[in-house]
Protein backbone atom coordinates (compact mmCIF):
# COMPACT_ATOMS: atom_id res chain seq x y z
CA UNK A 1 0.00 0.00 0.00
CA UNK A 2 1.22 3.48 -0.87
CA UNK A 3 1.87 5.78 2.05
CA UNK A 4 -1.24 7.93 2.42
CA UNK A 5 -0.99 11.64 3.03
CA UNK A 6 -1.76 11.72 6.73
CA UNK A 7 -2.29 15.47 7.10
CA UNK A 8 -4.35 17.43 4.56
CA UNK A 9 -4.91 21.18 5.04
CA UNK A 10 -3.71 20.93 8.62
CA UNK A 11 -6.20 18.21 9.52
CA UNK A 12 -5.64 14.49 10.00
CA UNK A 13 -7.52 11.87 7.98
CA UNK A 14 -10.09 11.39 10.74
CA UNK A 15 -10.65 15.15 10.88
CA UNK A 16 -8.61 15.79 14.03
CA UNK A 17 -6.23 18.66 14.61
CA UNK A 18 -2.62 17.65 15.40
CA UNK A 19 -3.14 18.11 19.15
CA UNK A 20 -6.63 16.63 19.32
CA UNK A 21 -7.41 13.41 21.16
CA UNK A 22 -9.92 10.85 19.96
CA UNK A 23 -13.09 10.61 22.09
CA UNK A 24 -12.58 8.55 25.25
CA UNK A 25 -15.30 6.80 27.26
CA UNK A 26 -14.70 4.77 30.41
CA UNK A 27 -17.14 2.64 32.35
CA UNK A 28 -16.20 0.94 35.62
CA UNK A 29 -17.15 -2.32 37.37
CA UNK A 30 -18.06 -4.22 34.25
CA UNK A 31 -16.58 -7.54 35.41
CA UNK A 32 -18.29 -8.63 38.58
CA UNK A 33 -15.71 -11.26 39.58
CA UNK A 34 -12.80 -8.82 39.51
CA UNK A 35 -11.62 -6.63 42.39
CA UNK A 36 -11.83 -3.74 39.96
CA UNK A 37 -12.48 -3.39 36.26
CA UNK A 38 -13.01 -0.91 33.48
CA UNK A 39 -14.24 -0.90 29.92
CA UNK A 40 -12.85 1.78 27.70
CA UNK A 41 -13.53 3.05 24.23
CA UNK A 42 -10.74 5.25 22.97
CA UNK A 43 -11.56 6.18 19.38
CA UNK A 44 -12.06 2.80 17.76
CA UNK A 45 -10.12 0.96 20.44
CA UNK A 46 -12.19 -1.19 22.76
CA UNK A 47 -10.38 -2.34 25.86
CA UNK A 48 -11.23 -4.23 29.02
CA UNK A 49 -9.00 -4.03 32.09
CA UNK A 50 -9.54 -6.14 35.19
CA UNK A 51 -7.66 -6.38 38.47
CA UNK A 52 -7.61 -9.35 40.84
CA UNK A 53 -6.06 -9.24 44.28
CA UNK A 54 -4.24 -8.54 46.44
CA UNK A 55 -4.16 -12.28 47.05
CA UNK A 56 -1.59 -14.80 48.22
CA UNK A 57 1.33 -14.93 45.80
CA UNK A 58 1.41 -18.26 43.96
CA UNK A 59 3.54 -20.27 43.59
CA UNK A 60 4.52 -19.33 47.14
CA UNK A 61 8.23 -18.89 46.44
CA UNK A 62 7.44 -16.03 44.05
CA UNK A 63 6.11 -13.98 46.98
CA UNK A 64 8.23 -11.12 48.27
CA UNK A 65 8.33 -10.73 52.09
CA UNK A 66 8.56 -6.95 51.69
CA UNK A 67 5.97 -6.16 49.06
CA UNK A 68 3.28 -7.36 46.69
CA UNK A 69 4.37 -8.56 43.29
CA UNK A 70 2.50 -7.12 40.33
CA UNK A 71 1.71 -9.28 37.34
CA UNK A 72 0.38 -7.97 34.08
CA UNK A 73 -0.94 -9.66 30.99
CA UNK A 74 -1.64 -7.53 27.93
CA UNK A 75 -3.28 -9.46 25.17
CA UNK A 76 -5.12 -8.86 21.93
CA UNK A 77 -8.06 -10.99 20.83
CA UNK A 78 -7.37 -12.77 17.52
CA UNK A 79 -10.22 -10.78 15.92
CA UNK A 80 -9.05 -7.38 17.18
CA UNK A 81 -7.37 -6.15 14.02
CA UNK A 82 -8.30 -5.86 10.36
CA UNK A 83 -5.49 -8.18 9.38
CA UNK A 84 -5.57 -11.97 9.39
CA UNK A 85 -6.72 -13.99 12.40
CA UNK A 86 -4.17 -13.49 15.20
CA UNK A 87 -2.13 -16.37 16.53
CA UNK A 88 -2.97 -17.66 19.97
CA UNK A 89 -0.62 -17.04 22.88
CA UNK A 90 1.44 -13.95 23.60
CA UNK A 91 3.77 -12.74 20.85
CA UNK A 92 7.00 -10.86 21.52
CA UNK A 93 5.29 -7.49 21.24
CA UNK A 94 2.67 -8.48 23.82
CA UNK A 95 5.34 -9.78 26.21
CA UNK A 96 7.23 -6.49 26.00
CA UNK A 97 4.06 -4.44 26.52
CA UNK A 98 3.06 -6.61 29.49
CA UNK A 99 6.49 -5.99 31.01
CA UNK A 100 6.51 -2.19 30.66
CA UNK A 101 2.89 -1.98 31.82
CA UNK A 102 3.69 -4.03 34.90
CA UNK A 103 6.56 -1.65 35.66
CA UNK A 104 4.21 1.36 35.55
CA UNK A 105 1.95 -0.18 38.19
CA UNK A 106 4.80 -1.45 40.37
CA UNK A 107 5.63 2.22 40.77
CA UNK A 108 2.12 3.48 41.40
CA UNK A 109 0.64 0.80 43.68
CA UNK A 110 1.63 0.93 47.36
CA UNK A 111 3.08 -2.57 47.01
CA UNK A 112 4.79 -2.32 50.40
CA UNK A 113 1.34 -2.57 52.02
CA UNK A 114 0.87 -6.16 50.83
CA UNK A 115 3.87 -8.40 51.53
CA UNK A 116 3.78 -11.93 50.06
CA UNK A 117 0.80 -10.99 47.90
CA UNK A 118 0.24 -10.62 44.22
CA UNK A 119 -1.90 -8.22 42.26
CA UNK A 120 -2.91 -9.34 38.78
CA UNK A 121 -3.74 -6.88 36.03
CA UNK A 122 -5.35 -8.19 32.86
CA UNK A 123 -5.70 -6.03 29.77
CA UNK A 124 -7.63 -7.43 26.85
CA UNK A 125 -7.79 -5.53 23.57
CA UNK A 126 -11.12 -6.39 21.94
CA UNK A 127 -10.83 -3.99 19.02
CA UNK A 128 -7.60 -2.27 18.07
CA UNK A 129 -7.00 0.99 16.26
CA UNK A 130 -3.59 2.19 17.38
CA UNK A 131 -2.45 3.26 20.83
CA UNK A 132 -3.65 0.11 22.54
CA UNK A 133 -0.87 0.00 25.13
CA UNK A 134 -1.71 3.57 26.18
CA UNK A 135 -5.41 2.75 26.30
CA UNK A 136 -4.66 -0.40 28.30
CA UNK A 137 -2.63 1.48 30.92
CA UNK A 138 -5.20 4.27 31.17
CA UNK A 139 -8.02 1.74 31.61
CA UNK A 140 -6.06 -0.42 34.06
CA UNK A 141 -5.39 2.66 36.20
CA UNK A 142 -9.14 3.17 36.51
CA UNK A 143 -9.72 -0.54 37.22
CA UNK A 144 -7.14 -0.35 40.01
CA UNK A 145 -8.67 2.77 41.48
CA UNK A 146 -12.11 1.13 41.61
CA UNK A 147 -10.61 -1.97 43.23
CA UNK A 148 -9.61 0.11 46.21
CA UNK A 149 -5.98 -0.96 46.02
CA UNK A 150 -4.03 2.04 47.35
CA UNK A 151 -2.08 3.97 44.72
CA UNK A 152 0.16 7.00 44.74
CA UNK A 153 -1.67 8.48 41.78
CA UNK A 154 -3.87 7.56 38.82
CA UNK A 155 -1.53 7.40 35.85
CA UNK A 156 -2.53 8.04 32.26
CA UNK A 157 -0.83 7.06 29.03
CA UNK A 158 -0.96 8.42 25.50
CA UNK A 159 1.20 8.38 22.39
CA UNK A 160 2.65 11.30 20.52
CA UNK A 161 4.22 11.02 17.11
CA UNK A 162 5.35 12.87 14.05
CA UNK A 163 4.09 13.18 10.51
CA UNK A 164 6.60 15.11 8.42
CA UNK A 165 7.26 18.27 10.42
CA UNK A 166 4.09 18.05 12.46
CA UNK A 167 4.02 16.57 15.94
CA UNK A 168 0.68 14.85 16.60
CA UNK A 169 -1.03 13.31 19.61
CA UNK A 170 -2.86 10.00 19.94
CA UNK A 171 -1.99 8.17 16.73
CA UNK A 172 -4.60 5.85 15.26
CA UNK A 173 -3.61 2.61 13.55
CA UNK A 174 -3.16 4.13 10.09
CA UNK A 175 -1.06 6.97 11.50
CA UNK A 176 0.90 4.50 13.60
CA UNK A 177 1.72 2.46 10.47
CA UNK A 178 2.84 5.37 8.34
CA UNK A 179 4.06 8.02 10.79
CA UNK A 180 7.68 9.08 11.13
CA UNK A 181 7.82 8.57 14.89
CA UNK A 182 5.72 7.09 17.67
CA UNK A 183 6.27 7.68 21.37
CA UNK A 184 3.96 6.15 23.99
CA UNK A 185 4.38 7.71 27.43
CA UNK A 186 2.75 7.09 30.81
CA UNK A 187 2.80 9.82 33.45
CA UNK A 188 1.71 10.22 37.07
CA UNK A 189 -0.18 13.53 36.80
CA UNK A 190 0.34 14.78 40.36
CA UNK A 191 4.08 15.25 39.96
CA UNK A 192 4.50 14.62 36.21
CA UNK A 193 6.92 11.75 36.86
CA UNK A 194 7.44 9.67 33.75
CA UNK A 195 6.55 6.01 34.30
CA UNK A 196 6.78 4.66 30.78
CA UNK A 197 8.48 5.97 27.71
CA UNK A 198 9.16 4.17 24.47
CA UNK A 199 9.95 5.60 21.09
CA UNK A 200 10.71 4.58 17.57
CA UNK A 201 11.12 6.41 14.30
CA UNK A 202 12.97 9.71 14.43
CA UNK A 203 12.59 12.88 16.48
CA UNK A 204 14.88 15.86 16.78
CA UNK A 205 15.42 17.15 20.29
CA UNK A 206 12.97 20.02 19.62
CA UNK A 207 10.31 17.66 18.31
CA UNK A 208 10.87 15.42 21.33
CA UNK A 209 10.19 18.34 23.68
CA UNK A 210 7.12 19.34 21.72
CA UNK A 211 5.81 15.77 21.86
CA UNK A 212 6.24 15.61 25.63
CA UNK A 213 4.47 18.96 26.02
CA UNK A 214 1.55 17.71 23.90
CA UNK A 215 1.36 14.53 25.97
CA UNK A 216 1.12 16.52 29.21
CA UNK A 217 -1.64 18.70 27.78
CA UNK A 218 -3.59 15.66 26.60
CA UNK A 219 -3.03 14.17 30.06
CA UNK A 220 -5.16 16.89 31.63
CA UNK A 221 -8.11 15.79 29.50
CA UNK A 222 -7.52 12.06 30.06
CA UNK A 223 -7.09 12.47 33.82
CA UNK A 224 -10.44 14.28 34.01
CA UNK A 225 -12.21 11.48 32.10
CA UNK A 226 -10.63 8.85 34.37
CA UNK A 227 -11.69 10.66 37.53
CA UNK A 228 -15.25 11.17 36.30
CA UNK A 229 -15.51 7.47 35.47
CA UNK A 230 -14.30 6.51 38.95
CA UNK A 231 -16.78 8.89 40.63
CA UNK A 232 -19.76 8.04 38.45
CA UNK A 233 -21.13 4.98 40.33
CA UNK A 234 -21.11 6.97 43.57
CA UNK A 235 -22.78 9.96 41.97
CA UNK A 236 -25.40 7.65 40.53
CA UNK A 237 -26.09 6.37 44.04
CA UNK A 238 -26.36 9.88 45.39
CA UNK A 239 -28.74 10.82 42.62
CA UNK A 240 -30.83 7.72 43.24
CA UNK A 241 -31.10 7.96 47.01
CA UNK A 242 -30.59 11.66 47.44
CA UNK A 243 -28.02 11.12 50.19
CA UNK A 244 -25.74 14.01 50.93
CA UNK A 245 -22.07 13.65 51.65
CA UNK A 246 -20.11 16.52 53.06
Amino acid sequence: MEKPQLIVNGLRLDGRKPDELRPIKIETDIIKNASGSAYMEWGNNKVIAAVYGPKEALPKHTGDPEKAIVKCVYSMTPFSSLEEHGRSGPNRRAIEISKVTKEVFENIILVENFPRSEIDIFIEILQADGGTRAAGITAAAVALATSGIPMRDIPYAVSAGRVGDTVIIDLNKLEDNYSDADMPVAIAPRNNEILLMQMDGGLTREQFKKALEMIKNAGKVITKIQREAIKKPYEDLINKYGAKYE
Binding site: E106, N192, F208
Partner: protein
Protein backbone atom coordinates in the same frame (compact mmCIF):
# COMPACT_ATOMS: atom_id res chain seq x y z
CA UNK B 1 26.05 -4.49 50.40
CA UNK B 2 23.19 -2.77 48.56
CA UNK B 3 22.97 0.03 51.10
CA UNK B 4 26.73 0.49 50.94
CA UNK B 5 26.63 0.80 47.15
CA UNK B 6 23.71 3.21 47.28
CA UNK B 7 25.58 5.34 49.79
CA UNK B 8 28.71 5.38 47.66
CA UNK B 9 26.80 6.36 44.56
CA UNK B 10 24.83 9.09 46.27
CA UNK B 11 28.11 10.55 47.56
CA UNK B 12 29.32 10.71 43.96
CA UNK B 13 31.65 7.72 44.06
CA UNK B 14 31.69 4.81 41.64
CA UNK B 15 33.99 1.85 41.51
CA UNK B 16 37.15 2.34 39.45
CA UNK B 17 36.92 6.11 40.04
CA UNK B 18 34.45 6.38 37.27
CA UNK B 19 32.52 9.62 36.75
CA UNK B 20 28.73 9.32 36.66
CA UNK B 21 28.61 9.81 32.91
CA UNK B 22 31.73 7.89 31.87
CA UNK B 23 31.73 4.60 30.06
CA UNK B 24 33.88 1.71 31.17
CA UNK B 25 36.51 0.65 28.67
CA UNK B 26 34.82 -0.48 25.45
CA UNK B 27 36.48 -3.01 23.15
CA UNK B 28 35.08 -3.94 19.77
CA UNK B 29 36.32 -6.71 17.50
CA UNK B 30 34.68 -7.56 14.21
CA UNK B 31 34.81 -10.74 12.11
CA UNK B 32 35.27 -13.11 15.01
CA UNK B 33 33.06 -15.90 13.63
CA UNK B 34 34.04 -17.12 10.19
CA UNK B 35 30.88 -19.15 9.59
CA UNK B 36 28.65 -16.11 10.01
CA UNK B 37 28.15 -13.51 7.29
CA UNK B 38 29.08 -10.88 9.84
CA UNK B 39 29.99 -10.83 13.52
CA UNK B 40 31.31 -8.71 16.35
CA UNK B 41 32.49 -9.22 19.89
CA UNK B 42 31.95 -6.23 22.14
CA UNK B 43 32.93 -5.77 25.72
CA UNK B 44 32.03 -2.91 28.00
CA UNK B 45 34.00 -3.52 31.16
CA UNK B 46 33.21 -7.12 32.06
CA UNK B 47 30.05 -7.28 29.97
CA UNK B 48 30.67 -9.23 26.82
CA UNK B 49 28.25 -9.65 23.93
CA UNK B 50 28.67 -11.57 20.69
CA UNK B 51 26.53 -10.83 17.66
CA UNK B 52 26.38 -13.08 14.62
CA UNK B 53 24.65 -12.13 11.37
CA UNK B 54 23.23 -14.64 8.91
CA UNK B 55 21.35 -13.93 5.69
CA UNK B 56 18.78 -16.30 4.24
CA UNK B 57 16.48 -16.12 1.25
CA UNK B 58 12.92 -15.49 2.37
CA UNK B 59 9.60 -14.08 1.32
CA UNK B 60 9.13 -10.37 1.92
CA UNK B 61 6.55 -9.00 4.33
CA UNK B 62 3.28 -8.54 2.40
CA UNK B 63 3.22 -4.80 3.10
CA UNK B 64 6.85 -4.30 1.99
CA UNK B 65 7.33 -6.48 -1.10
CA UNK B 66 10.49 -4.64 -2.23
CA UNK B 67 12.35 -4.75 1.10
CA UNK B 68 14.26 -7.39 3.00
CA UNK B 69 13.50 -8.50 6.54
CA UNK B 70 15.32 -7.80 9.78
CA UNK B 71 14.93 -10.35 12.56
CA UNK B 72 16.63 -9.61 15.87
CA UNK B 73 16.75 -11.96 18.81
CA UNK B 74 18.71 -12.10 22.04
CA UNK B 75 19.87 -14.98 24.21
CA UNK B 76 20.80 -14.44 27.82
CA UNK B 77 22.89 -17.59 28.04
CA UNK B 78 22.95 -19.30 31.44
CA UNK B 79 26.75 -19.39 31.13
CA UNK B 80 26.80 -15.59 31.22
CA UNK B 81 25.49 -15.11 34.73
CA UNK B 82 24.32 -17.14 37.73
CA UNK B 83 21.06 -15.20 37.44
CA UNK B 84 20.26 -16.33 33.90
CA UNK B 85 18.17 -19.46 33.58
CA UNK B 86 17.88 -21.78 30.61
CA UNK B 87 14.58 -21.87 28.78
CA UNK B 88 12.53 -19.99 26.22
CA UNK B 89 13.06 -16.24 25.78
CA UNK B 90 11.95 -14.33 28.88
CA UNK B 91 10.60 -10.75 28.95
CA UNK B 92 14.13 -9.37 29.57
CA UNK B 93 15.68 -10.95 26.51
CA UNK B 94 12.67 -10.07 24.37
CA UNK B 95 12.88 -6.45 25.50
CA UNK B 96 16.61 -6.33 24.75
CA UNK B 97 16.14 -7.73 21.24
CA UNK B 98 13.19 -5.49 20.47
CA UNK B 99 14.94 -2.31 21.58
CA UNK B 100 18.02 -3.12 19.47
CA UNK B 101 15.69 -3.97 16.57
CA UNK B 102 13.80 -0.68 16.95
CA UNK B 103 17.02 1.34 16.95
CA UNK B 104 18.36 -0.37 13.80
CA UNK B 105 15.02 -0.15 12.02
CA UNK B 106 14.19 3.43 12.99
CA UNK B 107 17.63 4.69 12.01
CA UNK B 108 17.37 2.79 8.72
CA UNK B 109 20.81 1.44 9.53
CA UNK B 110 20.58 -1.18 6.79
CA UNK B 111 19.37 -0.30 3.31
CA UNK B 112 16.35 -2.63 3.35
CA UNK B 113 15.68 -2.12 -0.37
CA UNK B 114 19.16 -3.44 -1.22
CA UNK B 115 18.00 -6.80 0.16
CA UNK B 116 15.51 -7.31 -2.67
CA UNK B 117 16.43 -10.25 -4.92
CA UNK B 118 13.51 -10.86 -7.27
CA UNK B 119 9.75 -10.90 -7.03
CA UNK B 120 8.75 -12.65 -3.78
CA UNK B 121 12.40 -13.26 -2.82
CA UNK B 122 14.37 -11.06 -0.48
CA UNK B 123 17.17 -11.47 2.03
CA UNK B 124 16.25 -11.84 5.67
CA UNK B 125 18.97 -10.50 7.95
CA UNK B 126 19.15 -12.40 11.24
CA UNK B 127 20.79 -10.48 14.06
CA UNK B 128 21.47 -12.92 16.89
CA UNK B 129 22.64 -11.36 20.12
CA UNK B 130 24.45 -13.74 22.47
CA UNK B 131 25.34 -12.44 25.91
CA UNK B 132 28.55 -14.20 27.00
CA UNK B 133 29.18 -12.41 30.28
CA UNK B 134 26.77 -10.15 32.12
CA UNK B 135 28.00 -7.12 34.01
CA UNK B 136 25.29 -4.60 33.22
CA UNK B 137 24.37 -2.41 30.26
CA UNK B 138 23.44 -5.10 27.76
CA UNK B 139 21.54 -2.61 25.63
CA UNK B 140 24.52 -0.49 24.61
CA UNK B 141 26.84 -3.47 24.19
CA UNK B 142 24.30 -5.31 22.05
CA UNK B 143 23.59 -2.38 19.75
CA UNK B 144 27.32 -1.66 19.36
CA UNK B 145 27.91 -5.31 18.47
CA UNK B 146 24.94 -5.47 16.09
CA UNK B 147 25.94 -2.25 14.34
CA UNK B 148 29.57 -3.33 13.99
CA UNK B 149 28.65 -6.80 12.76
CA UNK B 150 26.22 -5.41 10.17
CA UNK B 151 28.88 -3.05 8.80
CA UNK B 152 31.19 -6.00 8.25
CA UNK B 153 28.53 -8.36 6.90
CA UNK B 154 29.19 -9.81 3.48
CA UNK B 155 26.14 -10.42 1.38
CA UNK B 156 25.77 -13.98 0.05
CA UNK B 157 24.99 -14.55 -3.62
CA UNK B 158 21.73 -16.07 -4.80
CA UNK B 159 22.21 -17.91 -8.06
CA UNK B 160 20.20 -20.72 -9.71
CA UNK B 161 18.10 -21.20 -6.58
CA UNK B 162 21.21 -21.66 -4.47
CA UNK B 163 22.84 -19.49 -1.85
CA UNK B 164 26.59 -19.10 -2.19
CA UNK B 165 28.28 -18.08 1.05
CA UNK B 166 31.92 -18.42 0.13
CA UNK B 167 34.44 -16.03 -1.34
CA UNK B 168 32.16 -13.06 -1.00
CA UNK B 169 33.26 -9.50 -1.37
CA UNK B 170 30.12 -7.41 -1.47
CA UNK B 171 29.30 -5.81 1.89
CA UNK B 172 25.79 -5.32 3.16
CA UNK B 173 24.72 -1.75 2.46
CA UNK B 174 24.72 0.22 5.71
CA UNK B 175 23.29 3.75 5.51
CA UNK B 176 23.42 5.05 9.03
CA UNK B 177 25.20 4.42 12.31
CA UNK B 178 23.03 4.34 15.41
CA UNK B 179 24.27 3.89 18.98
CA UNK B 180 22.56 3.86 22.34
CA UNK B 181 23.34 5.17 25.78
CA UNK B 182 21.81 3.54 28.83
CA UNK B 183 21.37 5.23 32.18
CA UNK B 184 20.45 3.85 35.57
CA UNK B 185 18.70 5.79 38.29
CA UNK B 186 19.80 4.84 41.78
CA UNK B 187 17.94 6.81 44.43
CA UNK B 188 17.94 10.24 42.80
CA UNK B 189 21.28 9.83 41.04
CA UNK B 190 21.67 9.21 37.32
CA UNK B 191 24.62 7.20 36.07
CA UNK B 192 25.66 6.12 32.60
CA UNK B 193 26.66 2.57 31.70
CA UNK B 194 25.64 0.76 34.90
CA UNK B 195 27.52 -2.36 35.98
CA UNK B 196 25.68 -5.52 37.03
CA UNK B 197 26.03 -4.49 40.66
CA UNK B 198 24.65 -1.04 39.92
CA UNK B 199 21.79 -2.54 37.91
CA UNK B 200 20.90 -4.76 40.87
CA UNK B 201 20.08 -1.66 42.93
CA UNK B 202 18.74 0.67 40.23
CA UNK B 203 15.13 1.78 40.44
CA UNK B 204 14.80 2.78 36.80
CA UNK B 205 16.62 2.43 33.52
CA UNK B 206 16.56 4.66 30.43
CA UNK B 207 17.98 3.87 27.02
CA UNK B 208 18.18 6.38 24.19
CA UNK B 209 19.40 5.44 20.72
CA UNK B 210 20.44 8.28 18.43
CA UNK B 211 22.17 8.67 15.09
CA UNK B 212 23.77 12.04 15.77
CA UNK B 213 20.80 14.00 14.41
CA UNK B 214 17.67 12.28 15.63
CA UNK B 215 16.50 10.28 18.59
CA UNK B 216 15.80 6.87 17.08
CA UNK B 217 14.56 4.75 19.95
CA UNK B 218 13.76 5.15 23.62
CA UNK B 219 13.03 2.53 26.24
CA UNK B 220 12.38 3.29 29.87
CA UNK B 221 12.53 0.26 32.14
CA UNK B 222 11.70 -0.82 35.70
CA UNK B 223 9.41 0.59 38.35
CA UNK B 224 11.18 3.88 39.05
CA UNK B 225 10.21 7.12 37.37
CA UNK B 226 11.96 10.10 35.79
CA UNK B 227 11.41 13.83 35.98
CA UNK B 228 11.34 15.74 32.73
CA UNK B 229 14.60 17.54 33.61
CA UNK B 230 16.30 14.18 34.09
CA UNK B 231 15.09 13.06 30.67
CA UNK B 232 16.40 16.29 29.10
CA UNK B 233 19.76 15.72 30.76
CA UNK B 234 20.03 12.14 29.52
CA UNK B 235 19.05 13.09 25.96
CA UNK B 236 21.74 15.78 26.01
CA UNK B 237 24.42 13.36 27.21
CA UNK B 238 23.31 10.72 24.71
CA UNK B 239 23.99 13.08 21.80
CA UNK B 240 27.33 14.09 23.34
CA UNK B 241 28.42 10.45 23.46
CA UNK B 242 27.49 9.75 19.85
CA UNK B 243 30.80 10.64 18.22
CA UNK B 244 32.84 8.75 20.79
CA UNK B 245 30.87 5.55 20.22
CA UNK B 246 30.70 5.98 16.46
CA UNK B 247 34.48 6.34 16.32
CA UNK B 248 34.89 3.03 18.16
CA UNK B 249 32.69 1.30 15.60
CA UNK B 250 34.53 2.93 12.71
CA UNK B 251 37.91 1.89 14.06
CA UNK B 252 36.72 -1.68 14.45
CA UNK B 253 35.35 -1.86 10.92
CA UNK B 254 38.20 -0.29 8.94
Amino acid sequence: MNDYLKELISSGLRSHDRGNFDYREIKIKSDVIKTAEGSADVSIGDTRVLVGIKLDVDEPMPDKPDEGNLITSAELLPLASPDFEPGPPNPESIELARVVDRALRSAEAIDMKSLFIEENKVWSVFVDIYVLNYDGNLFDASLLAAMTALMKTKKPIYKDNKVIRENLNEYLKVNNIVVSTTFAKIGDILILDPTGEEESIMNARYTIANDGNNIRAIQKGLYGSFKEEEIDNMVEISFKKYNELKLLIENATK
